[in-house]
Structures are given as C-alpha cells and as structure tokens.
C-alpha cells in the first residue's frame, strides 16, 4: 500500500501546480523508498530508464527546419491556401486530417505526422484560417479552442488508427501477455478488433468537429 504514495504525490503535485519535473522526481524517490530501495539505487534506476527512453525526446530535431520555414512564411502560406479554397471549412479540414491520420497510423506510419512536424506549422494555422474565413472577428478564446482542437484531432487520429496495424507496440504487448497466460493469438486477430472503435472514434470526433465549426460561426452572429 505504501508504494502508492508516489501516485498521491503526482496527483497532488499536478493539482497544486508545482513544477512537474520536481513532482516526478519526488514521486520517484518516495515510491522507491517506500519499496525499500536506497536512494542511490533509485537514482540509478531513474538514470538508466532516462537513458533508455532518449528516443522520446529526439523529435525536437525538426525544430530548426520548422523555424526556418516559419521565418520564410510557411504559416502565412498555409493560411492563404485555405483562404483560396472556398469549400475548406474548419469542420471539413480537421475531419479530413483526422481520417488521413487514422489511415496512415493504420498502416504503421505513426511518426510521419505529429505536433512539431505537421500540427504547429500546417494544421493549426490552416484551421485558424478556415475559422477566420467564416468569422472575421475570432476572439482570443475561440482562436485557442481552434488550435487546441487541431492538436486533439492529431492525437485522436493517431490513437484510434495505430492499433489496426499489426506490428505496433501495443499489439505486440497484448500478444506477448496473452501468450504468458497460455492463449496464442494472431496479431491480425487483435488488430481487426480495433476497427469498430476506430470507426466510432471517427464518428464521435467528426460530429464534435462539425459542432465546433458551428459554434465558431454562431458567436459571430451574436457579436
């Protein structure tokens, strides 16, 4: 029971808005001590895990390219493309991106798009431009919501597409764990069962994107 202290520290730390890095380190130390480890062993375990998971942080190497392109007007260009496309509404734009992201993830192409690679330079400015095309007085809060939905759409497309791919980590984890229980199951069998949820995710989020688009317009009428 005592090892749960780490979870309590995490939840309290996030709620009280302490610096998350401090909260994580405190939680790791408290959990390790509660489990009877000494401080050196905890620091070493944390250091080993940090070194083993460096691939998580390499995505930042795209920033010099994104910075260069933004300095030469990429965001403005992405916006002007949307302005020229008369049919490109906010809902249609983000729904198309959702579908594209789900399909690419379903064939294993998960790192092809993402927040630094596609959302910040392309999808978010395009979504803003599509919202502005119908509403020339977007408030700051509306602008925030549009950008947040651009990021949310990327996540949802990724999560509910990737498990359709046979060789993704989560499918292999499931296969491995079920095998230790004595059930031998083909990866294809697991990945097919991800399809009903993928379709449902598309319908639910697509519906919410349509409502977002209407909401962005309605406030204009009231303003």
């Amino acid at each position: 029971m005592l090892v749960l202290i780490g979870i309590v520290i995490i939840i309290a730390g996030f709620l009280l808005r302490f610096n998350p890095l401090l909260v994580i380190m405190t939680s790791a130390l408290a959990t390790g001590l509660a489990a009877g480890l000494d401080v050196t062993a905890i620091v070493a375990a944390f250091g080993k895990a940090f070194n083993d998971t460096r691939y998580v942080s390499i995505v930042w190497i795209v920033l010099p390219v994104i910075g260069l392109l933004e300095a030469y007007g990429l965001q403005q260009h992405a916006r002007s493309l949307i302005d020229r496309m008369k049919g490109a509404t906010l809902g249609r734009l983000l729904t198309s991106y959702l579908l594209l992201r789900q399909l690419m993830a379903a064939v294993g192409l998960t790192s092809v798009a993402g927040h630094p690679q596609t959302v910040r330079p392309l999808v978010a400015p395009m979504a803003e431009a599509a919202a502005e095309a119908r509403n020339d007085a977007l408030t700051d809060d509306q602008r925030e919501e549009v950008k947040a939905f651009a990021a949310a759409t990327d996540n949802i497309g990724l999560f509910f597409g990737e498990d359709i791919f046979l060789a993704i980590g989560s499918i292999l984890l499931m296969k491995g764990l079920l095998e230790t229980y004595g059930y031998s199951i083909e990866p294809l069998h697991l990945s097919l069962w991800a399809i009903p949820t993928a379709i449902t995710a598309f319908l639910i989020h697509g519906f919410r994107l349509r409502r977002l688009e209407k909401r962005m317009r309605k406030r204009e009428a009231g303003a």
């Binding site: 090892v3 780490g6 979870i7 610096n19 998350p20 994580i24 939680s27 790791a28 390790g32 620091v43 070493a44 375990a45 944390f46 250091g47 080993k48 895990a49 940090f50 070194n51 460096r54 998580v56 390499i58 930042w60 190497i61 795209v62 920033l63 010099p64 390219v65 994104i66 260069l68 933004e70 030469y72 007007g73 990429l74 260009h77 294993g108 790192s111 092809v112 798009a113 927040h115 690679q117 910040r120 925030e144 950008k147 947040a148 939905f149 990021a151 949310a152 996540n155 999560f159 509910f160 989560s170 499931m174 079920l178 229980y181 069998h189 697991l190 990945s191 069962w193 991800a194 989020h205």
Partner: protein
C-alpha cells in the same frame, strides 16, 4: 548500418548548438540556466551510453534542479515580423509547403526502404532514422533556396524550443517514472485494489470495472501500456476470460483502446497533451485535454459496450 545512435548524435549536436546560442543571448535574463539545461541534454544524447546508470541519474537530478528552481526562461521576441513573413510567403509560395512535406515524405519512403532492403539501417528504428534523414534533407533544400544567415535555423529552432521550455523532457521523465513504479510493484497493488472492488456475479459489472479501470489507471500512469498488464491480471484474466469465458482477443484489443481514452484525459501523457499546448503557445496548459474530453468519454462508454457485446 545506420542505427539509432546516428539520431542521438544529431540530436546531441542540435541541443549543444541551442545551448551555445542560448549562452550568448544577452536578451534572456536566464541565459545561463537555459544553456546548462540544453547542454546537459546534449551530454545525455551524446554520452549517455558512456555514463553509468548513477551518473545518468545525477544528470537527471541536475536537469530537475535547474528547471525546478525556475532557472529557465525565454528571451522576448526573436520572431521575424509578420510583414516580412507575409512578403516572403508570397515570394516562395508552394515551395515552403514542399520543403515542409519533405520530412514526412522521407520518413515514409525510408520506413519502407529500410524494412525491405536489409543492411542499410536498423529496420526496428526505420521511421525514426528516416525522420532524421528527412530533417537533414529538408534543411539542405531550404538553405539552398532561401540562402538565410547560416545560424538562422538554429536560432529559430532554439526560440521554438525555449517556448516549450522544460516541458520538452517531461515525456521522457514520465517514462522513467514508470520504470521506477514498475520496480516498486505499484501496478500489482493498484490491480489488487480494483480487483477487490468488483461486485460478484455481474458480467456487466466486471466489464465496466475492466474498462473504467483501464482508463483510470492509464490516467494515473499516463500510459495504457503500463495499465494493461495490471488490469489484465486483476480483472481481465480471472473474471472476464476464465470465469465468464470471454474472447481474449476482443478483451485485450478493446481493453487497450479503453486505456487510450484515458490517455486523452490526463496531463501525465505529457507528450500528447501538455507539449502540444506549449508548442502551439496556448494560454492554458490543459487546453488540449479540454478539447479531448468530449470525445474520450463517449468513446470509453462505446468501448465498454463493445467488449460486453462482442466478447461474450
């Protein structure tokens, strides 16, 4: 053969350059903190494999100390003015888009190339290696066409990374915390608690506990992978599979997706939820989570119903 080490070296030199440029940025009152932070990260990328586990741990403690005492900041401004950007956008037009699409296109092509032509690069890391190659090609093409000052990409990249700040290593920190939790056996304890809380004799009750438990435990750990073995051991295997004879493939596949609904709702999944908020310069760090809850909750309900309908 190209391995992930190539990507680590590229990332290491990128962070080292950011650190160096940060050190000489006198407009940033916290330039020493920034330089130390990105410099240590560069050291981790370049030399992490040569350090002992304990030394790597000390490196992390130093990163936390710098960030936790507020020694990281960002210089005001630094972006190219909107007028200049608009004028350049009109001049370069679709070429900008083309360069931006080089990165995903090379990532895509390289993934297939390295998988089907063995010996060129580590096939297990094909996409990450291709992504790095795509970055180098895009940078080369962009430099050749725009002819910017040599350090402009690094300076602008540094400005973007400073906007993200310490949150840039939050995902890696949380992944490491997960390793300590595993070492301490946190999963077994939580699984035991949830397993004990299920009403006896109700199939739907057991399915509900499994789905909600996956989502909740994923929210706590920030990762459905950590929640999955725990919930399978506590509820999935003994109740759903053994007692009620459910289809293990359905229970596992859709149970994992119920966990993903939890990922959409937690700040612990920093790389998906907090980092984009910083990258898009949103006022609220929880803006992305707020946008996701309306999809995650009904989808979680749908997953629970799917397990109930399809597995039994």
């Amino acid at each position: 053969m190209i391995t992930l080490d190539f990507v680590y070296i590229l990332a290491g030199w990128t962070f080292a350059l950011f650190a160096l440029l940060g050190l000489y940025d006198r407009t940033n009152p916290k330039r020493f903190g920034n330089a130390a932070f990105w410099g240590l990260l560069a050291l981790s990328m370049l030399g992490g494999d040569y350090l002992t586990d304990f030394q790597n741990g000390l490196l992390v403690l130093a990163l936390v100390a710098i960030a936790g005492t507020g020694q990281i900041g960002r210089a005001p401004g630094g972006e190219v003015s909107a007028e200049v950007q608009a004028e350049r956008a009109a001049r370069h037009g679709n070429f900008l888009l083309l360069v931006a699409l080089i990165i995903p296109a090379v990532a895509l092509a390289g993934t297939f190339l390295f998988k089907y032509v063995p010996g060129l690069a580590d096939p297990k890391q094909a996409t990450l290696i291709s992504l790095a190659i795509g970055v180098l090609i895009a940078l080369g093409v962009g430099m050749a066409r725009f002819k910017p000052p040599l350090l402009l990409p690094a300076q602008q990249g540094r400005r973007l990374l400073d906007a993200v700040g310490w949150a840039a290593i939050l995902p890696q920190m949380l992944a490491s915390l997960g390793a300590v939790f595993a070492l301490a056996g946190v999963g077994e304890v939580v699984g035991g608690l949830i397993g004990g809380a299920i009403p006896q004799g109700s199939l739907f009750g057991a399915v509900l506990a499994f789905g909600l438990g996956m989502a909740f435990f994923t929210m706590v750990m920030g990762n459905a992978f950590a929640a999955f073995p725990v919930m399978m051991a506590a509820v999935g295997l003994p109740l759903l599979i053994k007692q009620y004879h459910g289809d293990p493939a359905v229970i596992a596949a859709i149970g994992m997706l119920a966990g993903f609904c939890g990922t959409l709702m937690t700040p612990m999944a920093a790389n998906f939820n907090l980092v984009p908020a910083a990258l898009l310069e949103l006022k609220s760090p929880y803006g992305v989570i707020k946008a996701q809850i309306g999809t995650a909750v009904p989808l979680l309900a749908a997953n629970i119903v799917f397990i109930w309908l399809l597995a039994f």
